[in-house]
């Protein structure tokens, strides 16, 4: 047994870890295993990747490419391959993952199971939109292949299915052409939420990537920094040197706290405000700003942290975000990692996919116990009333009624579950 935490470091419970490394051997391993859940890099924040006292099938050893067609951009690989390894392989050949989340240190299997999204949702949807084939192994030993045109119901259940329909062992992804590793960017400060929504709307047609940092201490005003970017052709620019720092230890208390939050946010807003304007950014620093600070999750101290990410429909978006920011500012909690972004009008592939038309707010909160959980209840009320939903990949505590109302296809999804698969998340919110 090994103690395993997810990215939020809220718990450190014992798991029996079974390493999957030979894809022909997986069927045997699953058939002879107790109930478990696939676990890749453990980058989901809450408990979708945990199974305390049970089995974790570690997929990071399934890290082989299978084929890549340089003329069509179709890539086949095992499910434990990291998005980083794909990007580094294909970028020099003029290809890229069409959709990428805020860290590239996640596996392909995890990206599919959580149907992750990126800054370009309004143009290209979520990760699952670009998956052509999934190989799924069930714990009874059955191997299934599915895709948008092959057993589409299984495909729809598995994309965003939180690993509960079987273990994903292989996938085919349609990559996308890019002119190179650079993006032309623009940084625009905004003074309030109205300005944010105007910027978001104005950027939809001409900018592929949009995201914003919101100053969570500014409360209902909602000031922040809007960032947008487009892939760009840049000649003869040396790629930046990769300098990695590691958060060397877990500080005894969270470095993000009531004392540090205000000055940090002020400083960050003013610094970025001064850097406003156009620029050129390397894709790694644009998409994955935190990947060079290894183990940054330690900064929240020994009790770990929550992330609260919701999406609320566009019609009520402004009011709901205003209300949430107000609650957060009044509570004095929050952190400088706060993201506000609009999602486009696209039907998600997965039954349980998180992205939907609207606006999403994501914030880290150091775990202050009851006080933090009480704040979340107030945020839940706002999300509930707005008919929004919470992102399972980030969640460790949402109430069941909000899960059920946020994911209306849950009953349909449950029919596709593998009875030999269970996670802390599924036991918390789906009985087993």
């Amino acid at each position: 047994m090994v103690a395993v935490s997810s990215w939020g470091r809220l718990s450190k419970r014992q798991h029996e870890v079974v390493a999957l490394s030979d894809r022909d051997h997986v069927i045997q391993q699953l058939k002879s295993s107790r109930s478990g859940i696939a676990h890749g890099m453990g980058r989901s924040y809450g408990d979708v990747c945990l199974n305390p006292d049970g089995v974790l099938w570690n997929t990071t050893g399934l890290d082989r490419f299978i084929s890549f067609d340089e003329s069509t951009g179709l890539l086949a690989c095992e499910a434990g391959v990291l998005l980083r390894d794909i990007q580094r392989l294909v970028m020099p050949q003029g290809w890229t993952l069409p959709v990428t989340p805020g860290t590239q240190l996640v596996t392909v299997g995890g990206a599919i199971a959580n149907d992750v999204h990126g800054k370009n949702h309004h143009v290209l949807g979520s990760f699952g939109d670009h998956v052509q084939r999934i190989k799924l192994i069930r714990t009874n030993g059955a191997a299934t292949e599915c895709g948008p045109d092959l057993l589409p119901d299984w495909f729809s259940a598995t994309v965003g299915g939180l690993g509960l329909t079987g273990v994903i062992t292989e996938a085919e992804i349609q990559l996308r052409r890019v002119p190179g590793p650079w993006l032309a960017t623009e940084t625009v400060p905004y003074g309030n939420l109205d300005e944010f929504f105007r910027l978001a709307d104005d950027s939809e047609a001409d900018w592929e990537h949009t995201v914003s940092w919101v100053d969570c201490i500014s409360g209902e005003v909602g000031r922040g920094i809007f960032m947008r970017g487009n892939p760009a052709h840049v000649d003869h620019r040396p790629e930046p040197k990769n300098r990695k720092l590691t958060m060397p230890l877990v500080p005894p208390i969270s470095l993000v706290n009531r004392l540090s939050l205000r000055p940090f946010n002020m400083a960050y807003f003013n610094l970025k405000k001064r850097q406003a304007g156009s620029g050129i950014a390397h894709y790694e620093s644009f998409f994955y700003p935190l990947d060079n600070l290894l183990e940054w999750n330690r900064m929240y101290g020994p009790k770990g942290f929550f992330q609260y990410q919701s999406v609320v429909p566009r019609e009520v978006g402004r009011e709901a975000v205003r209300a949430m920011l107000g609650e957060i500012a009044r509570s004095g909690e929050g952190s400088f990692l706060a993201v506000l972004k609009t999602f486009g009008n696209r039907q998600a592939v997965g039954m349980m996919s998180f992205p939907q038309l609207g606006v999403t707010l994501a914030l880290d909160f150091p775990n202050q116990g009851e006080r933090t959980l009480k704040l979340f209840e107030r945020l839940d009320a706002i999300v509930r009333e707005a008919r929004g939903r919470i992102y399972p990949a980030k969640d460790a505590r949402m109430p069941r009624d909000l899960f059920e109302s946020g994911y209306p296809r849950l009953k349909e999804f449950i029919q596709y579950r593998d009875p030999g698969i269970s996670s802390a998340f599924s036991r918390r919110l789906m009985e087993n």
Binding site: A19, G61, L89
Partner: protein
């Protein structure tokens, strides 16, 4: 071979350490790589991955009997007949259960053969050719376990000790030639072979880091490479512990 791709041969190509070394080699430059494995399906999968990483490289897959001396001789002669080799990495092995080896002599015999005799036969088969060509680097993966016998895994340790002593002798034999012999001694590494150690809470080095250090050691042609380097110090202490202290240790 008409071009000047580096010619590399890996025995035990499906071992996690070997696979990661191969990834590093193909990412540096296109190479001419021969992969020898016990199971050609598994070896083919490793090759497919490398082919994606380096479409310009040339790959050859050979299925081999790792026990039969004549088969090894034939296989190696065949490889060398196509041109002299720049790097040979002998990487195969499997970590036996010590307790089983103590009960079951067949298991003990197999552990000694796979981890000790077989790598030595492979090395010996290449050594003569390399000496004749007066070039190339022959690298063997030993283990820190071969430095001093310990009750928790001395059968494996004995086999790896054989590799150590053999490499030492080969280094002596080839000292005044253009051939370099590199003995690599990894500490416990996070691979499928050690999955059960990890279950028991052992801290293991990542296979990516270990592979990086091995490739660097091979490039430099160092006679003995401990990976990670801290194991050189740890094993020096362990080798020199007086018996009355050593015998009290639960290692």
């Amino acid at each position: 071979m008409t071009d000047n791709k580096k010619k590399i041969v890996i025995a035990g190509a499906t071992s996690a350490i070997a696979e990661h070394c191969a990834r590093l080699w193909v990412s540096e430059a296109a190479v001419d790589l021969t992969l020898i494995g016990r199971n050609s399906d598994r070896t083919e999968r490793v090759a497919a991955d490398l082919r994606v990483r380096s479409p310009q490289s040339v790959f050859r897959i050979l299925e081999a009997d790792f026990i039969d001396p004549l088969a090894i001789r034939q296989l190696v002669d065949g490889i060398v007949a196509e041109g002299s080799v720049d790097i040979v990495l002998i990487a195969h092995g499997s970590l036996p259960d010590q307790a089983v080896c103590q009960q079951d002599l067949t298991a003990c015999h197999e552990a000694l053969t796979v981890n000790g005799i077989s790598p030595v036969l492979f090395a010996e088969a290449f050594a003569g050719h390399m000496q004749k060509a007066n070039r190339g680097t022959l690298a063997m993966i030993g283990s820190v376990a071969g430095d001093r016998g310990r009750k928790s895994n001395y059968v494996y340790g004995a086999a790896k000790g054989l590799v150590t002593r053999y490499a030492q002798g080969l280094q002596h034999r080839l000292a005044n030639t253009g051939v370099k012999v590199v003995l690599i001694k990894p500490g416990p590494t996070d691979t499928p072979m050690t999955a059960h150690l990890k279950q028991q809470g052992a801290r293991l080095a990542s296979v990516e880091n270990v592979a990086q250090l091995i490739v660097k050691g091979i490039t430099q042609g160092k006679p003995v490479v401990y990976v990670p380097a801290k194991w050189a110090l740890i094993m020096m202490v362990i080798r020199h512990l007086p018996r009355f202290v050593f015998n009290k240790l639960e290692i």
